[in-house]
């Protein structure tokens, strides 16, 4: 009997852990990717306006504008916000710790390819490479790029102009 109770409580603990893990995975997406993967993501079909924000944990203006992207994502389900980190791919814990601490809800990918000149123009000819920068992709595939920091109002009006 004692044995059974012990097994039972162990099972419950195990179950609880599984549920916890599942919830954590469900909430937070983080992955290290190369440029090819990023490009194929952007070429996928989507009915939503996709908003790819390029940022890094050390970039003060990036961190300042991040909550606006999260807020607008909360308010508007017709858009999809995706954060693309330019952090050092050898130290992904900087990004995962940041996601935890700031409770970032939108998916985050660390684009780990430092041969920048090979791919910046493929993201947008209008991007010089400075971060923060934001790529908008409309459902019909048309792209536009904004380089620099945005306020909540600026981001909101950019999105409404593109919709």
């Amino acid at each position: 009997m004692k044995h059974l109770a012990l097994t039972g409580s162990l099972l419950i603990v195990l179950l609880l852990e599984l549920v916890g893990d599942f919830q954590a995975n469900d909430k937070k997406v983080f992955e290290i990717i190369g440029f090819e993967r990023f490009e194929s993501m952007t070429l996928e079909r989507s009915e939503k306006l996709r908003v790819y924000n390029f940022w890094a944990t050390w970039c003060a203006p990036c961190i300042k504008e991040m909550p606006y992207f999260e807020q607008i994502q909360e308010e508007d389900k017709d858009i999809e916000v995706i954060f693309i980190s330019m952090d050092d791919g050898r130290k992904p814990e900087r990004v995962t710790n940041f996601i935890e601490k700031r409770n970032i809800k939108s998916p985050v990918y660390l684009l780990n390819d430092v041969d920048y000149n090979k791919w910046i123009d493929k993201v947008s000819k209008d991007w010089s490479g400075a971060i923060p920068g934001t790529l908008f992709i409309k459902p019909d595939g048309v792209r536009s790029f904004f380089e620099g920091e945005v306020t909540y109002e600026e981001l909101k009006s950019m999105i409404s102009q593109l919709k």
Partner: protein, 208 residues
């Protein structure tokens, strides 16, 4: 009909003016003549292109104290100066960040940074941001190689230092060094412009 022509002309003029001003805001392109500047360096001296002794040009790098990409490239900037200054192409590092928005980039902190890293090159402060606006720099580090032709300083290369900020030993394309070799040999620069991820310039906010 005449009225229509007039309207057409007005439209064309507007389009032209708009495109012209858009180009101005983008700064220099390769082949443009760079304007001179006079900016104070961390040692107190005033640096200008025309005031460089025995120069054949300059490697102008928009830089700062606070950007991790700059920090990763500081040793390579020192090497570029040591290699090319004796051949007439000194490095001039220019910080254009607003010190109110980025206190780490104040002139005092530039002096500290230069002292700690023993910069052998001039590290000047573009407080008014006029120089970076004229050049069209958008990020740090952002390199402009200038070649002296008569009394003009002609832009020969715009872009990154090389293609791997993380690891100097893993670099496969040394953009600035290659361009410099070609300039010194009197050849055309084969890769005239490149892009790289960099830190945005901390632009002074206009008083409203």
């Amino acid at each position: 009909m005449r009225k229509l022509n007039g309207l057409f002309l007005l439209c064309m003029m507007t389009v032209f003016t708009l495109s012209a001003s858009a180009q101005d805001s983008q700064g220099y392109k390769v082949g443009d003549k760079a304007s001179d500047f006079k900016l104070q360096s961390v040692d107190g001296s005033w640096i200008s292109l025309s005031g460089l002794d025995n120069s054949k040009g300059a490697i102008v790098i928009f830089s700062c104290n606070t950007c991790p990409y700059v920090v990763a490239y500081e040793d390579r900037m020192i090497e570029l100066h040591e290699k090319f200054a004796t051949m007439g192409f000194p490095v001039i590092a220019i910080n254009s960040n607003d010190e109110k928005l980025s206190p780490g980039d104040s002139f005092e902190n530039m002096k500290k940074r230069s002292k700690n890293k023993k910069f052998p090159f001039a590290y000047v402060y573009d407080k008014s941001q006029e120089v970076i606006k004229a050049y069209g720099g958008t990020r740090t580090p952002h390199v402009y190689i200038l070649n002296k032709e008569g009394n003009d300083f002609v832009v020969k290369y715009i872009g990154a230092i090389d293609n791997n900020y993380q690891d100097a030993n893993a670099v496969t394309e040394k953009y600035v060094e290659n361009a410099m070799e070609e300039i010194l040999q009197g050849r055309k620069v084969s890769v005239e412009s490149t892009k790289a991820i960099g830190c945005t310039i901390k632009w002074t906010k206009k008083a409203e």
